[in-house]
């Protein structure tokens, strides 16, 4: 575990750079996390996606399946990758302060 300053807070990150305490998340933290995923400027579209993920997580305690995310935000899958080049799981979920999605197998 590593402690880093993000958005003015000292936050604990795991080795993939996900924040460990979802409750510590705020917009300044999100903007700082976005920079670690190659997103220098959070646009309105970025926020739409991040806020959707955030609200879904607060309601269901998990990340939505990708198709559901696309359907409910209206973004096509390739648009999600244009917004977050590292993809919805590694990129968008990290910026939204969600716990790390489970692995490959």
């Amino acid at each position: 575990m590593e402690i880093r300053e993000l958005g003015g807070k000292q936050l604990e990150l795991d080795e993939d750079g996900f924040i460990q305490d979802p409750a510590a998340w705020d917009e300044a933290v999100a903007a700082a996390l976005a920079k670690t995923e190659g997103v220098d400027e959070m646009s309105e579209k970025h926020w739409k996606l991040v806020n959707y993920l955030r609200n879904y997580y607060l309601q269901f305690q998990m990340a939505p399946m990708i198709r559901k995310l696309c359907k409910e935000t209206g973004f096509k899958l390739n648009e999600v990758y244009e917004l977050f080049p590292s993809g919805p799981a590694k990129g968008a979920c990290k910026v939204a302060g969600l716990p790390k999605p489970t692995g490959c197998v």
Partner: protein, 397 residues
Amino acid sequence: MEPSNTPLLDELEEGQWPSFVAQLKQAAEKSPAAADLLRQVERSYADNTGHWKRGGIVGVRGYGGGVVGRYSSLPEEFPGVKEFHTMRINEPAGFFYTTEKLRQLCDVWDQYGSGLLNLHGSTGDIILLGTTTENLQPCFDALTEVGFDLGGSGSALRTISCCVGQARCEYACIDTMDITYDLTMHFQSDIHRPSFPYKFKIKCSGCPNDCAAASARSDLAIIGVWRDAIQVDPQAVRQYVADGLNIIDQVVRRCPTWAVEWDAQTQELKINDADCTHCMHCINQMPKALRVGKQQGATLLVGGKAPVVKGAQIGSVLVPFIEMQPPYTEFKELLVKIIDWWAENGKNRERIGELIDRLGMAAFLQAIGRQPCAQMVNAPRANPYLFWKSEEVQQNG
């Protein structure tokens, strides 16, 4: 002589077989990561437990998969494997390489990774074992420069693989390598950008010998087949018998559907092709005398999988015969329908075969617009599929 610091692993070098330990030791001479890997594996044997952390999400720009994150749970002790990610690389169809291409691949991996690799993983990919987060993007960039791309991982269409097909085999009824290449190109986004409930594997075998193990190891198996008669060269059959083949014991009695007859008097072989289930046994026994038929295409099987969440399943026939000629439009349209139904109805981490079990073959066939047919039955005359909807039962009493 100094005492070995890997006494447990040394045991695995005994015997006359190749040993992964010997390979690891060799790699350890050049790569500090491989040296720490060796030490960590020894430690795992001593502790009787693995020392990798659960999961890990890493990747390269524009891709949602293709790299599997691996972290040591003992990074202070084994700093060389603190980050030891796996890269899955899409193999060429049929596993054909020039030695030059393999050298280029290995040069890149010596530069950016541990120098260790698997040829090939069970999905077919080239598995590059062990690199750091920092090296992922430059390694990927260098790999694309020499013509390689990442394969699939996670809840995605996995790298498609096939047998050597018409490139090396006279039994191939379909061009497995072209099918694999074409589908890989057509469904690129589904390979690199996971959006399915779980993994989806497609494998393609040229004939029912199924060298790609498609029926057991893929959610959708494409298996080359013929629908006319097995081609028989009567003279060559007689030659086999003259050369000592016990045709009754080795061929006739082993035909699962009793479709083969041998008349010892007239030295004539008769095959009742209507009863043939294309098991390949007679053809394998007498390859010089018997050949696959001339009307060639594929049978599609659905639902095969290895045990991860639920148990293993073998694929069952979905389409008894489909033409497989470029651009494979009928196949592609069918695949999209299958994926759509699964994506709409599947739970997280539910394979297509499990979903068909849960919601029923009838619901699946209706969703993809296929009629049930006799060839879908697992064992002839044993378990017919009967599909009645409840309103039909009421209508017809």
